[in-house]
C-alpha cells in the first residue's frame, strides 16, 4: 500500500510545474554563486589584500566564512577607495578589475559544494516546493478522494515525506553537478575531493535539509495552508530570524550565567547547515546530526499525530 501511495504521490509531484521551475532557478543560482566564487576577483574589485584571503582560507569554506571575508574585503575596499580617490585625483581613474581568479579559484568540488550548500538556496527552494506540494493537498482536499486510505493516513503521510526527501536529494544533486561543472569550466582544475569528510558532510547536510523540509511540511500540515508553509519556509531559510536568535542567546546567557560560547543558533537547522564545513570538528558534526534527528523526528511525529486524528475537510 505504501508503494502505491508513493507512486501516486510521485506522479502528482511530477505533474507540478513548480518542481521543474525551482530546479531551473537552483541551477541559475548555482551558476551565479559559482561564478562569484570562482571568477570574481574580489581583491581587484574591493582591494582585498592577501592577508584577508589567507584568513578566509584558514576559516574554512563556509557561507559564514565567505560573508566574513566579504566584509573584510569590503572594509579594505573602503580604505583603498579613499586612497584610490586620492590617487585618481593625482593620476587619473584606473578601470575596476572584476573578472579574474575568484577567492575559491583553487578549491576542489567538495569545497565548492559546501559553499553552495551554505548559501541556503536549497532550503529556500525546498521550502517553496513543500508549501506548494503539501499545501496542494489541503487546497484540493485530495485525501477525500482516497477513501481507501481514510484510516491509513499515516501511509499517505509517509509517502509524502518520502517525496520531500527525494526532491531534497534531487536539489542537492543539482548542487553537486553544478559544482563539478563550475570547477571544470571556471576553476583552476577539476579536483573532486570526495573524501570521507565530504561523505560525512554530505550525509549530515542531507539529513539537516530533510529535517528542515519535514519541519516546513509540519507547519503546512498544521496550518492546512499553502501560504503558511511557504512563508514559514522562506522566513526560516532567509535568516530573518537571526537577529531574534542573537537577542534570545544574550538573554539566555545572562539568565542562566552561561559562557559566551553558548549560542542558540548552534541548535537551529539553518545555522547548522550554514556553519557546517568540510573541516568541522567531530563535536560540531555530532551536534548537527542530533539537531537533524531531533527536529526531523519531533516535526514528523507531531504532524503525523495531528493529521491522523484530524477530520478531513
Amino acid at each position: 500500500m505504501f508503494i502505491n501511495a508513493l507512486k501516486s504521490e510521485l506522479f502528482r509531484a511530477s505533474k507540478m510545474k513548480s518542481i521543474y521551475i525551482l530546479a531551473i532557478v537552483l541551477i541559475a543560482l548555482m551558476l551565479l554563486n559559482n561564478f562569484i566564487y570562482l571568477k570574481v576577483d574580489l581583491y581587484g574589485l574591493l582591494g582585498m589584500d592577501a592577508d584577508a584571503i589567507t584568513e578566509l582560507q584558514e576559516m574554512g569554506t563556509s557561507g559564514e566564512a565567505y560573508n566574513d571575508s566579504f566584509m573584510a574585503g569590503f572594509d579594505a575596499g573602503l580604505q583603498s577607495g579613499e586612497l584610490a580617490a586620492q590617487d585618481a585625483m593625482e593620476n587619473g581613474i584606473e578601470p575596476i578589475k572584476i573578472l579574474g581568479k575568484g577567492v575559491f579559484y583553487e578549491a576542489d568540488v567538495a569545497e565548492l559544494t559546501s559553499l553552495d550548500i551554505g548559501s541556503l538556496d536549497v532550503l529556500l527552494l525546498q521550502a517553496i516546493f513543500i508549501g506548494l506540494y503539501i499545501g496542494g493537498v489541503y487546497k484540493s482536499e485530495l485525501d477525500k478522494n482516497i477513501v481507501k486510505y481514510s484510516n491509513k493516513r499515516g501511509t499517505l503521510f509517509a509517502a509524502r515525506t518520502t517525496v520531500i526527501a527525494l526532491y531534497t536529494l534531487i536539489l542537492q544533486l543539482i548542487v553537486w553537478v553544478m559544482a563539478i561543472w563550475g570547477m571544470a569550466t571556471m576553476g583552476q582544475s577539476l579536483v573532486l575531493g570526495f573524501d570521507s569528510s565530504f561523505v560525512i558532510y554530505s550525509v549530515v547536510i542531507y539529513l539537516l535539509t530533510v529535517a528542515f523540509g519535514i519541519l516546513v511540511a509540519a507547519i503546512t500540515h498544521l496550518s492546512k495552508s499553502m501560504a503558511g508553509g511557504i512563508t514559514t519556509g522562506i522566513i526560516l531559510s532567509s535568516g530573518i530570524l537571526s537577529t531574534l536568535i542573537s537577542i534570545a542567546t544574550i538573554i539566555i546567557q545572562r539568565k542562566f550565567n552561561l559562557d559566551s560560547d553558548f549560542a542558540l543558533g548552534n541548535y537551529t537547522l539553518t545555522m547548522n547547515i550554514s556553519a557546517l564545513t568540510l573541516n568541522s570538528d567531530g563535536h560540531m558534526v555530532l551536534r548537527a546530526l542530533i539537531c537533524a534527528l531531533v527536529y526531523g523526528v519531533v516535526a514528523y511525529v507531531v504532524s503525523l499525530i495531528r493529521v491522523s486524528k484530524r477530520d478531513l475537510g
Partner: protein
C-alpha cells in the same frame, strides 16, 4: 432475512459548541439506493464523512456487513464524493483519475477512459480540470469515486450544479450502476423530486437526528393525493367507505382514514358517512409531493409560520 451494507448505531458527532449528528440509526440495505434528505446543516455530510472514515464519531458506531469491526477493509470498497469534488485544477481529467488509480494499484489506461466515458468526460483531452464547468467537475468527482469499482458509493449532492441533461445523465448512470453492478448507493440531494426518481429507501434528517426512515414505496404512499377523513368512529366508517365503492383506502391511526381513489367523489363519501350517522370531524383532499412532505415533517412550514 434482509441483508444490510451498513448499519449505524447511535452515531454521534459533537463539536465544541454543537451537535452535528445526534444518535443516528440508519440501515442501508445491500443493493439499495438510499436517499438522505435534510436541510443545509442537518448533518448529512457529517454522517457521510463518518461512515467513510473522514471524520471520527464522538459517539456510537457503524459497521459494514461482512467486514471487520474497525471497517478497515470496507474503506477500500467505498467510493465517495463528499462536498465539492476533490480535484487538482492544473491537471487534466485523465491525470486526476490517474492519481487515484495509482494509489489504488490500477495501472490500466483503458480503465481510466472507461470510467471517464461513464460520465462523458473521455474526450476532454488536455483541458485542465480547473477550466471545467461546475457540472463537468461534478461528473469528474463521480468518475473518481468509481475508481476501484466500489461496492458502496457515497454521493453528497452529486447533481449540484448540473444542467437538466446532466441530471438525467447522472440519474441514469446511478440507476444503471445500481441495477447492473449491484452497487449500493447512499445519496443526498436538495432536489428531492430527483431523489424520488431513483431512491429506494429514505432517511429524513433534521438537526442531526433521523426523523423518519422508510422505503420509497411507503413514502410515496404518504405523499399520494388522498381524501383524509378524521372520525372518532373509525370501525363504523370503514364499512361505509367500502359499501360506497371505494377500494383503495387504509386506516392510518385510530382516528384517521386515507382514501386514495375517486378523489373527486369526496362529497358523495361525505354524504354516505352522514347518512350512516358517522360523526366526521374533518374531511378533505390532501395532496403533497415529497418536498411538501419533507417540509411538513421537518417542521419547516411551522418554523416559518412561527417566525411570521
Amino acid at each position: 432475512m434482509e441483508e444490510y451494507m451498513l448499519i449505524t448505531k447511535d452515531l454521534t458527532k459533537k463539536y465544541k459548541n454543537s451537535t452535528a449528528v445526534d444518535g443516528v440509526n440508519i440501515h442501508i440495505r445491500k443493493g439499495s439506493i438510499y436517499g438522505l434528505i435534510g436541510k443545509n446543516g442537518a448533518g448529512k455530510t457529517t454522517i457521510m464523512k463518518m461512515i467513510s472514515g473522514m471524520a471520527t464519531p464522538t459517539g456510537g458506531s457503524f459497521s459494514y456487513e461482512g467486514f471487520d469491526e474497525a471497517n478497515k477493509e470496507a474503506f477500500s470498497r467505498i467510493g465517495a464524493l463528499i462536498e465539492a469534488p476533490a480535484i487538482e485544477p492544473n491537471l487534466t481529467a485523465y491525470d486526476n483519475m490517474r492519481i487515484k488509480c495509482i494509489a489504488y494499484g490500477i495501472g490500466d489506461k483503458d480503465y481510466i477512459y472507461e470510467k471517464l466515458a461513464l460520465v462523458g468526460l473521455d474526450k476532454t483531452g488536455k483541458k485542465k480540470a480547473g477550466k471545467f464547468s461546475l457540472g463537468m467537475k461534478q461528473r469528474l468527482g463521480i468518475a473518481m469515486a468509481m475508481v476501484g469499482d466500489p461496492d458502496f458509493l457515497i454521493l453528497d449532492e452529486p447533481i449540484n450544479g448540473l444542467d437538466p441533461q446532466g441530471i438525467v445523465g447522472i440519474r441514469d448512470m446511478l440507476t444503471r450502476l445500481n441495477k447492473e453492478k449491484n452497487i449500493t448507493i447512499l445519496i443526498s440531494s436538495h432536489i428531492l423530486e430527483e431523489l424520488a426518481k431513483i431512491a429506494t429507501d429514505y432517511a429524513i434528517i433534521d438537526h442531526g437526528k433521523i426523523i423518519e426512515e422508510s422505503t420509497s414505496k411507503a413514502l410515496k404512499e404518504k405523499c399520494r393525493d388522498k381524501i383524509v377523513i378524521k372520525t372518532p368512529e373509525l370501525s363504523k366508517a370503514l364499512p361505509i367507505i367500502d359499501k360506497a365503492g371505494f377500494t383503495d383506502y387504509s386506516a392510518i391511526d385510530d382516528k384517521t382514514i386515507h382514501v386514495f381513489d375517486r378523489l373527486t367523489d369526496i362529497s358523495v363519501l361525505n354524504m354516505e358517512l352522514a347518512k350512516a350517522m358517522v360523526p366526521v370531524e374533518s374531511i378533505g383532499v390532501e395532496s403533497s409531493d415529497l418536498e411538501e412532505y419533507f417540509l411538513k415533517i421537518t417542521g419547516t412550514i411551522a418554523d416559518l409560520s412561527d417566525n411570521n
